[in-house]
Symmetry: C2
Subunit: 442 residues, 2 copies
């Protein structure tokens, strides 16, 4: 495949971002084979040629932390503090989910993400065999983990391990897996330690909620005399690969602890939900100062309302300026760094995704910059971060396969999914049973 | 015209917002004639029928404060504190603008706004005859004011008055006009007083920047012993209709002053730029507590990057929750209230726009809620504010005339405008002359 005539977002050896104008991308066997001047490959024989004029080709976006199937609850639990959101709304209705609901939700979520230029997502949820099936069929890339609480006893952890071992390197390498203890406040210290052991024994990464907000950190300090990050450290989780969801409650005192970890640590930031819950943002500047990659995420749509990673990129730029009181901080180039290099590193997928460079998987999106809301383009990075929208993504490619062409989805049938989902809504939202999958006391 | 099969956003007598399902809107002579069940008007003869199934019909958005033509500088002055933004970037390049540049910019801006569901904008800029011409041709509604500084002498004020008198009630009533002193820090007290007198004599409103940020308020207190709002009060501007742009530096002590004003006072909030400049947000909760309408705005694209009022609506909901530390505050219904009733009141256009009700002008947008990023819809208000995007606006109607149908612009030619604009960019960005239109010392 040859994508020609586009502007290509490229990285230098120091993570710097630049743009090569009037270029072509040659894709072979699902990988980027070459980035060249368009005229140099004009006569190259190709099974498929894509006209990229007026568009920017960039690495597909990575959603570093989501619960894809929760799109079925999108907009059903609004304007609430997180305690009520969990205990009165979300955890009660999650008891209603069937495996098939998770499948429908994952299909809808993948449709939304492909349309929004997301090519990889890290999913932390239940009934993950269904999600793996959907990923296999729709062509996306994903890191999947089956969530568990200590309240489930050892069975939860065993199921998470079993899933991770069965699906690792699935779908021709598009599926990677992680162990998925829910959080430092729902999984006991002993179970976290056991998880770290399993991760080490099996070479798996761990994906976990920790220091989600400042209150959790304060509660942890009051109850245990240590922060959630210190809890991760004590359990040995910072010495295996770990992806920390949110981390808005990470404190200055956590920095040396994080630095001392011998595993690859990443943090996923989902800024929209933090605004809605009135949390602080993830301390991106602190984390950057010690070299911890911060990837972009959306969390589930029950809190975030969309799975729009492009919006997470834009909001990260905007909110970080305000939070630091510094208009010069978190430039458009830095935001693109989080969307590409840092997101890939947060998931341990650097070298494979996050760059358009020879040897990397051909996970590519084409973004239209000709719209009246983007023109004129004085600076391509700024145009991408501050003017373009996820709806300007016209083409989404994973492993060299086109999943969306000119905004038409090729691997998912949205009307069929939404029609079937509509029949399930009353049962899904029923809270008459009075149960819940877990109690929040973070 | 009949728009049928849609869900219609309607207001009750207490500004409450509701949704009428499977409804039809009958438009006659540019006005909403009737909202009825779809079946009740199925046989009504109509010159045009629009299929609104799967879509929400709502009042067109109002951009309560912008500098439309500044789209030509979009993205050219990034990551800077406001002093440098004004003095080193924007005010130098504004000396380069020709009347024709303003025309091109206004055309591009109107194209962007129509595509984003904006039907009315309040523009505060220079060469406003050009903007009036563009508004006349493209079919939008606008309140236009020719900006002036005291540094121009009396000529600036006279030109603003002359423009306002020549164009008031222009374009079949689609154009209203305001006097447009630039700001409390660039227009002297004497000139502000003279402006209030002219406004009273001629029955005009005044559109002005004031208390844009907390620093301006602090400087004003240090220099003059009064806040910018107290300056407006002293000049008599709170006793004529006044639209205050930004007001992020409005203090508690300003509330009784604002309440004592006998004119109709409104505030325009453009939250995106405040995040970029690391300003506080407009104190919406305080202003609501004294009944001052807060309308949504984008400011110019040189600071805001887009003219996306839909994003302003979403950001207002998000940022206000975070700023107040209260997830229950500024609900989706409240955000829609700001986008409709409060924006119309801020511009003094209530009774004419901001509602779909008999006798109101037929300024209507149709918003598609079938996309995978919006489905399923548990709550229509939440779906609009937190999941839908400006790109989901499919049809834009002003005064009963369709300006965009199924995302195709009918009154503006974007490729022609952007092609011509491209040739002007080097000259527009030239700062070699060392001049600027004004010095910022707010």
């Amino acid at each position: 495949m040859v994508i020609e005539g586009c502007t290509v977002l490229v990285h230098d050896d120091h993570d710097g971002i630049g743009f090569t104008e009037d270029a072509a991308i040659v894709v072979r066997d699902g990988c980027v084979a070459r980035i060249a001047p368009a005229r140099a490959v004009a006569d190259l024989p190709a099974a498929e040629r894509i006209d990229g004029r007026g568009q920017v080709a960039m690495p597909g976006l990575v959603n570093c932390h989501t619960h894809a199937a929760m799109v079925v609850f999108r907009g059903s639990a609004e304007d609430l503090p997180v305690e009520e959101w969990f205990n009165d709304r979300v955890w009660p209705v999650e008891t209603n989910l069937t495996d098939h609901d998770v499948r429908l939700g994952a299909q809808l979520a993948c449709a939304e993400m492909i349309r929004g230029g997301v090519t990889t997502f890290a999913d932390h949820y239940f009934a993950m065999d269904e999600v793996a099936d959907v990923v296999r069929a729709c062509g996306m890339r994903a890191d999947l983990g089956w969530a568990y609480f200590s309240s489930q006893g050892p069975a939860g952890r065993e199921r998470s391990l079993d899933f991770a071992l069965r699906h690792r390197d699935g779908a021709g390498g598009r599926i990677t897996t992680s162990l998925a203890p829910h959080a430092t406040y729902t999984v006991s210290d002993a179970d976290l330690r056991a998880t770290a052991g399993l991760a080490r024994d099996h070479g798996l990464r761990v994906h976990i909620h920790a220091a989600e907000n400042r209150d959790q950190t304060d509660h942890s300090l009051a109850r245990h005399g240590r922060t959630p990050v210190e809890t991760l450290h004590r359990a040995g989780l910072l010495d295996v690969g770990v992806l920390i969801a949110h981390g808005t409650g990470i404190l200055q005192r956590d920095l040396p602890v994080l630095s001392s970890g011998t595993g690859r640590i990443g943090v996923a930031t989902a800024p929209r939900g933090y605004l809605k819950f009135a949390w602080d943002p993830t301390p991106v500047r602190l984390l950057r100062s010690i070299g911890i990659p911060v990837g972009l995420a959306t969390d589930g749509a029950a809190s975030n309302n969309t799975l729009d990673v492009w919006e997470s990129m834009t909001l990260t730029a905007l909110v970080q300026k305000a939070a630091e009181g510094d208009p010069r901080w978190l430039t458009a180039h830095q935001a693109l760094d989080h969307a590409t290099t840092q997101s890939a590193r947060a998931l341990g997928l650097d070298g494979r995704v996050g760059r358009l460079a020879p040897g990397h998987r051909a996970d590519i999106i084409l973004v239209d910059l000709t719209g009246p809301h983007v023109q004129p383009v004085h600076d391509t990075a700024t145009a991408l971060v501050h003017s373009a929208r996820s709806s300007d993504v016209r083409t989404t490619i994973v492993d060299g396969r086109v999943l969306m062409r000119d905004r038409r989805l090729l691997t998912l049938d949205v009307p069929a999914v939404t029609a079937e989902l509509r029949t399930r809504l009353p049962a899904l939202l029923d809270r008459g049973h009075g149960g819940r999958i877990q109690h929040y006391d973070g």
